[in-house]
């Protein structure tokens, strides 16, 4: 039984069909990459998984560890262990990053029936995790994503991922807007969190990120469907030849 199972997902936004029968299975311990040209429905897929309002399925099913995700709200899905690293992380003016992180961390602890950390213990824990991602104390004193640079925003996403320790993480274009150094830090962060029990789905335009986060399986998405799957070599092939050949093959 796969950890995440998407079957024939169909979804429209404003009467326009975006997902047209997408299926995907992800097992524990796997890293998947989903690549595809602009407008193929990659971000829609990530919002659909996270349960965003307005991204409900017309047809098909999604189960996570055998639990039907469709009736669950975003916070319930998050509590089950689903994490989405946003392509465009959202600013929360006035909300201090440290407080926000403590709130989501302790809220998760509470859900799991574990002891919440005191402010001091949390700060110690946070410092350790933040250091691995080259995040300075100064950044944690600022408001969530407010005035962060592109690289800071992406590192802050991975910091949250590290604190919540999800079972499955969807990284939506996490490489966009990153220079090589930031890309390395972020990828290392993701790789450090990876183990045999969890899974990662990397959504990206470019092969570049996959030099750092090695996928087990690469999927090509086009026009709301996965049209081809293969191993890491498939990504290299795309890098070299572009999408057009595979797309033509389909037609």
């Amino acid at each position: 039984m796969p950890m995440l199972e998407i079957k024939n997902a169909e979804l429209s936004i404003d009467d326009k069909k975006i997902l047209k029968g997408l299926s995907l299975n992800v097992n524990e311990g796997e890293t998947h990459a989903i690549m595809g040209p602009n407008g193929s429905g990659k971000s829609t897929l990530s919002y659909m998984l996270a349960g965003r309002d307005g991204y409900e399925l017309d047809n098909g099913s999604i189960t996570f560890n055998n639990i039907d995700l469709i009736p669950l709200s975003p916070d319930e899905r998050s509590n089950l262990g689903l994490f989405l690293a946003f392509q465009y992380p959202v600013e929360l003016p006035g909300v201090s990053s440290t407080n926000f992180l403590r709130e989501i961390f302790n809220s998760r602890k509470k859900y799991l029936g574990e002891d919440e950390l005191t402010h001091l213990d949390f700060i110690k824990h946070l410092r350790k995790v933040a250091q691995n991602l080259s995040i300075k104390d100064e950044m944690l004193k600022r408001y969530v994503n407010y005035g962060f640079s592109g690289g800071e925003k992406k590192r802050f996403e991975i910091l949250q991922m590290a604190l919540l320790n999800p079972k499955i993480s969807v990284l939506d274009e996490t490489d966009s807007g990153l220079d090589v150094d930031a890309l390395k830090i972020v990828s290392e962060g993701v790789n450090n969190l990876k183990d045999k029990k969890n899974a990662v789905i990397v959504i990206t335009h470019y092969q570049r990120l996959l030099d750092y986060i090695k996928p087990d399986i690469v999927h090509i998405m086009s026009d709301g469907k996965i049209i081809k799957s293969g191993d890491a070599d498939l990504a290299l092939y795309i890098e070299k030849n572009g999408y057009s050949e595979i797309l033509n093959e389909q037609n």
Partner: protein
């Protein structure tokens, strides 16, 4: 399973929403319903007041009878029948109280339940409390410790008897009796409230706080607070309010006067959580309050911070009269309305002295079908050369059925004064909610977090003890407004 827990929690929170809604069964002493000269004499006699005070009340009553109710605020409610209210209700005291140990245990329990233990050993260190129950002050803590440094903190009814010189000199000096309909009414029938006097050069060693509780049915609370700070003095004063959950509306018409002399400072913080009425708008407190401070001395400063979450209707404009040269007035406000609540609140900054400065930061949050209006006046009078004002009014809307309004009035009579006004209106964005919820916060936690962020500039002005309470209160007030 998750969904079931959520439903149970929802039912629980909707019934627990106003956790101060209980009432206390206690024997009371009441004046007959209605308002006439005899009732005023009755109140004055109950308080054992000197003649000058009674005369002052009767004079106010005469003027009140000729006055009209104000109708300029953006609030609507059925006409109040002023003859259908009790103007005096007091817990029956068996004899004169000498110490806290003699306070009716029922009353002590009530305050315990409200989270305000009056037992000094159990109290938060560093906060002295005056507890006002309906029409009388039932207990004031830490009085002896305060009197060692010359600070007077007592019920105003006692100050009238024991410090008549001070009361006579300042009562009505900031808020004239006929300032408005409700101040005239209050002047005629006020029953209790707090009195604070900080002598020259004294920094009050602890936060002073008054806790107002309306308990009796059909009773109006008309308290009067007077705070006087002499040269170089400083005081931080906190005020909290709650009332039982009742179906009929109750009137709260208070007057607060602050006087700041040379180089003195007054910081006045309010967390107002009167019963707001139910979801449909039934019941709740009419909070018609006049609060004003006078920076009488040079280089003095008065700062108002308010978090307004309760009341069916709020009509309140804590203001500063900046008379002294270089004096400073500040107003920091968070006003939250949900369901059928109506709030028309703001401030007036009257610049009279030279180089006077004022800052207004107002955050209005509306949810449900509520109405939230900021109304503010900045007046730069002739002679207030070099005066400065900065005003920032931000409104946040939750949902599509509420509304927010900003009504600034600016009168400027000086050419080198500088008045700045900024206003924004925004909605809690779906992006923000989704982002927080994706991290595992439920819709209400997420909203409360975003709203607290929105209010940050005001919340940081609150004293520590109050800030935590206020943050929780914001969450509670918005329950049921999302999802």
């Amino acid at each position: 399973m998750v969904a079931t827990t959520e439903t149970i929690n929802q039912v629980k929170t909707s019934t627990d929403r106003y956790k101060y809604g209980f009432s206390t069964e206690i024997e009371v002493d009441k004046a007959p319903k209605g308002l006439n000269e005899d009732i005023i004499r009755f109140i004055s006699q109950k308080k054992d007041e000197p003649k000058w005070m009674l005369d002052w009340r009767l004079e106010a009553f005469k003027k009140w009878k000729k006055m009209e109710k104000p109708n300029w605020a953006k609030v609507s409610f059925p006409d109040i029948d002023f003859q259908d209210i009790y103007y005096y209700a007091a817990p029956k005291a068996k004899k004169k109280l000498n110490s806290l140990d003699e306070v009716d245990p029922e009353l002590l329990k009530t305050y315990e339940k409200l989270g305000i233990p009056l037992n000094e050993q159990k109290m938060l260190a560093g906060v002295a409390v005056d507890a006002v129950f309906d029409s009388v002050s039932v207990a004031t803590t830490f009085r002896e410790k305060l009197s060692e440094v010359g600070v007077i903190f007592c019920p105003i009814s006692e100050a009238i008897k024991n410090h008549p010189y001070l009361v006579k000199k300042y009562i009505g000096s900031v808020v004239p009796v006929t300032d408005n309909y409700y101040t005239a009414l209050n002047s005629a029938v006020f029953t209790d409230g707090s009195f604070v006097y900080i002598p020259k050069g004294v920094k009050c060693p602890m936060e002073l706080s008054t806790y107002f509780r309306i308990n009796e049915k059909n009773t109006g609370q008309f308290e009067r607070t007077l705070i006087i700070v002499e040269d170089e003095g400083y005081v931080s004063y906190l005020e909290g309010c709650t009332a039982p959950q009742r179906d009929e509306n109750q009137l709260h018409a208070a007057v607060v006067e602050l006087v700041a002399l040379n180089r003195s400072q007054i910081k006045y913080s309010t967390v107002q959580n009167w019963y707001p009425g139910d979801e449909t708008g039934k019941g709740g407190i009419y909070n018609f309050v006049t609060k004003r401070g006078k920076c009488l001395g040079d280089n003095s400063k008065i700062s108002w911070t308010q978090v307004e979450t309760g009341s069916a209707i709020t009509w309140k404009y804590p203001s500063c009269i900046l008379m002294g040269n270089n004096s400073v007035g500040e107003f920091y406000s968070v006003a939250i309305t949900n369901n059928a609540q109506q709030a028309d609140t703001g401030t007036k900054m009257i610049h009279i002295g030279k180089n006077t400065k004022s800052t207004i930061i107002s955050k209005g949050i509306s949810a449900g079908k509520s109405q939230n209006t900021y109304r503010g006046q900045v007046q730069i009078q002739k002679g207030a050369s070099n005066a400065r004002n900065f005003t920032q009014c931000d409104s946040l809307l939750i949902g599509n059925t509420c509304s927010a309004h900003t009504v600034p009035y600016i009168n400027q009579h000086v050419s080198n004064a500088k008045v700045e006004h900024e206003a924004t209106t925004s909605k809690i964005s779906e992006d923000q909610l989704f982002y927080c919820m994706q991290r595992g916060l439920d819709a209400e936690q997420a909203t409360s977090m975003i709203v607290n962020g929105f209010c940050k500039e005001v919340m940081k002005e609150l004293p520590m003890e109050f800030a935590v309470e206020a943050q929780k209160l914001i969450g509670i007030s918005l329950e049921g407004s999302v999802g």
